[in-house]
Amino acid sequence: MRTVIAEDSVLLRTGLTKLLETTGFEVAAAVDDAAGLLAAVERHRPELVIADVRMPPTFTDEGIRAALVVRRQWPEVAIMVLSQYVEERYAADLLSTSTTGVGYLLKDRVADVDVFLESLRRVAAGGTALDPEVVAQLLVRRQNTPLDRLTGRERQVLGLMAEGRSNAGIAEKLVVSESAVAKHINSIFTKLGLPASEGDHRRVLAVLRFLERASPTV
C-alpha cells in the first residue's frame, strides 16, 4: 500500500517508515512539513497519508489543514492524523465532508503496533479510526440533543461505532453477543430518529450525528 508520511520529528519519521516498510506498506515519501506533504501527495498519489497535526512553521494545526486540502483535492486518499492531544474540533473538521477513510489517533497509539497497523488498514479500506479519547470527549459535550436519551451502554456502542469498529468488533470489546450489539444499535437508530434504510448508511449517519456536536458550526 503506497503511503506518504508527514512528521517533523526525525525519530518518529524514521521509526514510522521502518515500521510500515517491514509490515508490508510502501512508503513513497516521508516529509517533515505540510507543504512537503501536499507536494508528495501530488506526485505519488498514495492510497494512505499519515500526518502529524503540529508541524513547522507555526507548530499549530498545519497537519489538519493539509489533510483537509488533501481530502478536497484527492478524496480517494485515506488520511490518518496523529496528534499529541485530542481536539475534537480537529476530528469534526476532518469528518465534516465524509466519514470514510479517515482516522484521528493520539501519537502514543503508535506504540501499540498491532492496533495501530489495524487502524491504518481500516482507514485505508475506507473505514474510520477515532481515538477512544476523542470519543470520550465528544460525550461530555453540549446538552439537550437526542444523544442525551441514549443509555450508558448505547453511548458506549455508539462511541465504538465512531472508532470504526464492526458489530463483531464492538461485541468483542464489550464482551457481549453480536445480537445484543445489533439490538443496541437499532435502539440508537430509533432514538436518534434515523430513517430505516440500508444499515451502513444509517451507521454513518449515527456517527455523524454523534460527531456533529463537536463542531460548533453545525
Binding site: S9, L11, L12, G15, L16, K18, L19, T22, T23, R54, T60, D61, Q84, Y85, V86, E87, E88, R89, K107, D108, V110, A111, D112, V113, D114, L117, E133, A136, Q137, L139, V140, R141, R142, Q143
Partner: protein, 429 residues
Amino acid sequence: MNTVLAPIGRFLLAPWRGQAWRDLWFVILSSALSLLPLGLIGLPWAFFAVAPIYLPSILACAFLPLLAAVLLGPQLTTLRRSAYYEIRGAQIPRAPHTARDAASADAPFLPRMRARLRHPRTWRQACYHLIAGPAANLVGMIAGTMWVCGLICFGWLVPAIAFGPNWKWLSMATSLALWSALVCLVVVYLAPWLVMASVRWDLKFATDLLGPSRAERLAHRVTDLTESRAAVVDAADAERRRIERDLHDGAQQRLVSLAMNLGLARATLKDLPEDARTALAEAHEEAKEALGELRNLVRGLHPVVLEDRGLDAALSGIAARSPVPVRLAVDVPRRVPPTVEAVAYFMVSEALANVAKHAQASAARVDVWLDGALLRLSVADDGIGGADAARGSGLTGLAQRAASVDGGFEIVSPVGGPTTIMVELPCEL
C-alpha cells in the same frame, strides 16, 4: 570619662559647630523660599490698609493664597525639593505618579486645575507652603536673629564691663552689664539648638507633606506587590511550559520511538526462543506504561492543548478523563491571559479529582463562562456534600490557586449534598 565629658563638650561647643552655622544658612535660604508664599498671604492684608473691611479684600485674603497653592503648588514643591537636596543633601521623597496624574497632565488648563483642587495632595502641599514650612522658618529666623544679636551684644558688653560704667560707647551700671552679658551668653548657647531643631522640623514637615501620603505609599506598595506576584506566577507558569516542551520534544518522542521499535520487534521476530519473546513483550508493555505515565505527568505540568487551543478544548479533555460522568459547557469567546487559563484549567482538574475521590457523586457539571472581565467557573456534583474548606487540603489548594491571580473561591456543600464550587478569576490585573 570621655562618655561623660563628650556630651558636655558638644553642648558647650554648639554655637561654634559647623552644623549649627550650616543650619543657620539653611534657615536663611529656606526662609527666602518661604517669602513667595508668605508674601501671597501678606499681600491681601495690604488691602485692609487701603480699604478696611471691604468685601473684596476679605475674599482676597481667603482666596489668593489658596489660588496660589493650586496654581503654583507643584512648582513650589519642585523648588523646595531641589533646594533641600542642593543645600543639605536631604531627599524629600516624590509622590508617586498615579494614573490619575497621568490623566490630568494632558487635560486642558481648567479641568487640570479642577483635578488639582480635588486632589488631597494639593492641600497637603498648600499646608506645607503656607503654614508648616513658614512656621518652621519663622522659628529658625527668630532663633538665628537672637543668636547673632546675642553674639553682638556680648561682644559689646565685655568692653563695657572692662572700661566701667563711663565707657563712651555704652554707659551702663556694671551689675546690669554683667547680668546682660550672662543673658546674652545663655541666648548664644541656646539659639543654635533652636535653629537646628527648626531645620529638623522643616525637613520633617516637608517629608510628610510634600512626599507621598501614607495612603499613597500603601497604594504604591500594593501595586508593587501585585506586579511582583503576577510576575512570579507568570514565571512559574512559563517554567512549567518550558519543562513540558522539553519533555515533549525529548523524552516523549524517544519513548514513543522505543515502544514502537519494541512493538515492531515483537510483531516480526516470531522465531525467537520463548523466554526472549516474553522479555520482549514485557519490555514493550513497560515502555507503553512509561509513555502513559509520562503523558499524565506532562498533562499535570501544563497541557499543550491549553496553550494551543484554549480552555474549551483543554477542559473537555479533563472532563472526558474524569471517572464521574461530567457535563461540560464552556462559553469563553475570546482567549484570556495564559496564567488565568492555567489557573482555571488546574482548578477544574482539581475540583473534578475531589469529586471523584470524596463526593460519591453519580454526575458532575462544569460551567465556564466569561462575565465581562471575569472568568467564572462552577463545578457542581450530586454527591454527599459536607466538604469543608477548613479541613480538606484539596480545597485549600483550590482557594490558593484562585488567590494567586486575585480571584475569588466559594464552596457550598451542605451535608447530604449537593456540592457546588464557584470561582471567579479577573482577566486583567
